[in-house]
């Protein structure tokens, strides 16, 4: 018997050609996604004179950009603004979208379907069309150039409501009925029983909402005028002035801006575990 035949591990003959093709595509996809991030990080470690030198590993790496950006009070302010906006909007979405989604999924009332269709239909309206009414609304209520002005259009979303409704529909009614018999009121049933059963969906919604708001540029740019209310993307764009675009500064800011999204993802991904919900049912 040959050594190859007795050695442990996956024999080459068992690897199907389909797998090799799949892995190749995944590898190419991975490279395409990682390259811009690498360049962002690489550029942030270069000084202004090396920016157009396309080598990934900088010739003379420097942390000057980071020291300068973090020492700049404006950047810290924008960072905090972005955190405030993204966190509040995320909490609001997780709370209200799931409350409405739960109601639409688990209660039978007249007009339920019409309400759902009405909510869904708003998904078909492009943001560009909504900006004008939002602006007029913000202007009339005096919300221009304020946190509330940046946040109000996103406090609840049709997408989040739809997502949560679909997930709540998969929660067996037996759980809710058992809780009803145990004496919980409807709000507590939602909060204590239904919500923990859809944590994977809540995590997904939280990640989407946080990322969406963290990177939001268009609306915050329109609604804010004073620099101290800028969010990070709007603030970073101010590094690109007409005369010169300070790529190394923009990339440094972007590198720092990526951190919270990474942390949020790493923190929430462990909750995205499928099958949690079915564990309490027949198995």
């Amino acid at each position: 018997m040959s050594a190859a035949a007795t050695s442990p591990g996956l024999p080459m003959s068992r690897i199907k050609p389909g797998r090799i093709v799949a892995w190749t595509f995944l590898f190419i996809g991975g490279v395409i996604m990682v390259t811009p991030l690498l360049f962002m990080l690489s550029t942030s470690l270069k000084d202004a004179s090396q920016v157009y030198d396309l080598r990934v590993i900088p010739q003379a790496p420097t942390l000057d950009n980071y020291i300068e950006i973090l020492g700049d009070g404006r950047f810290t302010r924008w960072f905090v603004n972005s955190v405030i906006v993204a966190v509040i909007v995320t909490i609001s979405n997780v709370f209200f979208d799931s409350l409405v989604g739960y109601t639409l999924a688990k209660f039978r009332f007249r007009g339920r379907y019409i309400v759902f269709i009405a909510i869904l239909s708003t998904l078909m309206i492009p943001t560009e069309m909504l900006v004008l009414p939002w602006y007029l609304m913000a202007s009339q209520f005096g919300w221009l150039d304020s946190y509330w002005g940046i946040m109000f259009p996103g406090m609840m979303t049709a997408f989040g409501t739809f997502l949560m409704k679909q997930f709540f529909e998969s929660v067996p009614d037996d759980f809710l009925e058992a809780a009803r018999i145990d004496g919980l009121n409807e709000f507590t049933i939602w909060w204590k029983i239904a919500m923990p059963l859809v944590t994977p969906a809540l995590s997904a919604l939280a990640i989407f909402t946080f990322l969406g708001n963290w990177t939001a540029f268009f609306w915050p740019l329109i609604v804010t005028t004073s620099a101290e209310l800028y969010t990070l993307p709007v603030g970073l764009s101010s590094f690109a002035v007409e005369q010169s675009i300070q790529w190394e500064k923009i990339m440094t800011g972007a590198s720092i801006a990526t951190l919270p999204t990474l942390i949020i993802f790493l923190f929430l991904q462990r909750y995205i575990v499928r099958g949690v919900m079915l564990a309490g049912l027949k198995g």
Partner: protein, 356 residues
């Protein structure tokens, strides 16, 4: 503990009536099983008692109190679901304690009750585990624990054993029955399995199409079914039914042969003569009764007895032979049931006729 009374109870979904004004009185401490095929209204009835379904008509009284408009939590009942419905994000102890959610007991008293229930159900060593780490039987025990910890007026069971395998089902059947003997709490148990109904019930309620067909002890239902449906539903294998015509002096089977029975008070021409497989045994017809013969087509060896299927004039009839006596397929066999073990039903109304 409490009595449960259903008075002309009706359930309608839009234009469709699924429960047609049923009356039922359940005594304090009684174990009543609602049994019937899918869609007969048994689960709906149970859910109306629990308060999970609104009542379209009639009245429900628990412990002599009308509960029609009371919320489930105000009815002092506990329910065990088919899917167990134990919360996956809580430990066994938390799940059981959830039954005491509205209780005003102190923390230590609650803890004591949970431990007591866990001990009764053999869950003491699993209190800190989550449902995902439990077997099906253990999960069902947790669900029962959550129900019993509250000391409710009545237990409602909605097909709680349907998801368990055969062996575990038998075991849980015994455990639930033993628990009922110990606690003496009024229990209503829904199942479509007649074996469960027969083995567990003090009284069985047979339902079909939203009507109660018969209420009685397991033996009453077995011995005196009121119609063909109950006769065939209770008992396994199902009762043999042979078409016959009532004549002077007895019933003449359409397959030939006369059974000497005294005619019912209002004789009707066409009837069905019923014989349970356990009563139809290979023997010589030396006593009056039903005698059928034919070739053996299938033999089911069960050990304690052998079920024999014979073909008689195009109809398959099931009889039983002692366990050690195994007839061969194709063999000609004569089966006989004594007169006092026969049943007679009107062929058109399917109601039982008194012939004995």
């Amino acid at each position: 503990m409490a009595t449960i009374e259903l008075d002309r109870l009706v359930k309608r979904y839009g234009q469709t009536t699924v429960v047609h004004g049923i009356d039922l009185s359940i005594q304090d401490g009684e174990f009543v099983v609602l049994v019937g095929p899918s869609g007969c209204g048994k689960s709906t009835t149970l859910r109306m008692i629990a308060g999970l379904e609104e009542i379209s008509g009639g009245e429900i009284r628990i412990a002599n109190r009308v509960v029609n408009d009371l919320q489930p939590k105000d009815r002092n009942i506990a329910m065990v679901f088919q899917n167990y419905a134990i919360y996956p994000h809580m430990t066994v102890a938390e799940n059981i304690a959830f039954g005491l959610y509205r209780s005003t007991l102190s923390k230590s008293e609650k803890r004591q009750r949970v431990e007591q229930a866990a001990e009764t159900l053999g869950l003491s060593h699993l209190l800190e585990r989550r449902p995902s780490a439990l077997s099906g039987g253990q999960r069902q025990r947790v669900a029962i624990g959550r129900a019993m910890v509250r000391d409710p007026a009545a237990f409602l069971f909605d097909e709680p054993l349907s998801n368990l395998d055969a062996q575990l089902r038998t075991q849980m059947r015994i455990e639930i029955k033993r628990l009922h003997h110990r606690l003496g709490t009024t229990s209503v148990f829904v199942t479509h399995d007649q074996v469960e109904a027969m083995t567990m019930a003090d009284r069985i309620v047979v339902m079909r199409d939203g009507h109660i067909l018969q209420v009685g002890t397991p033996l009453e239902l077995y011995e005196k079914p009121v119609d063909v449906f109950t006769a065939r539903f209770i008992g396994s294998p199902t009762m043999n039914l042979l078409p016959a015509t009532l004549k002077e002096g007895g019933a003449e089977l359409s397959t030939g042969g006369l059974i000497r029975v005294s005619p019912p008070s209002a004789p009707r021409a066409d009837v069905l003569i019923g014989a349970r497989p356990q009563d139809l045994v290979p023997s010589s017809p030396d006593t009056p009764g039903l005698t059928v013969s034919g070739n053996v087509v299938v033999v089911e060896t069960l050990g304690s007895e052998t079920l024999v299927h014979i073909e008689n004039a195009g109809q398959t009839i099931i009889g039983s032979a002692p366990g050690r006596q195994i007839p061969k397929v194709g063999e000609h066999l004569t089966l006989h049931a004594p007169l006092d073990r026969l049943y007679c039903f009107d062929k058109s109304t399917e109601k039982a006729l008194a012939i004995r």
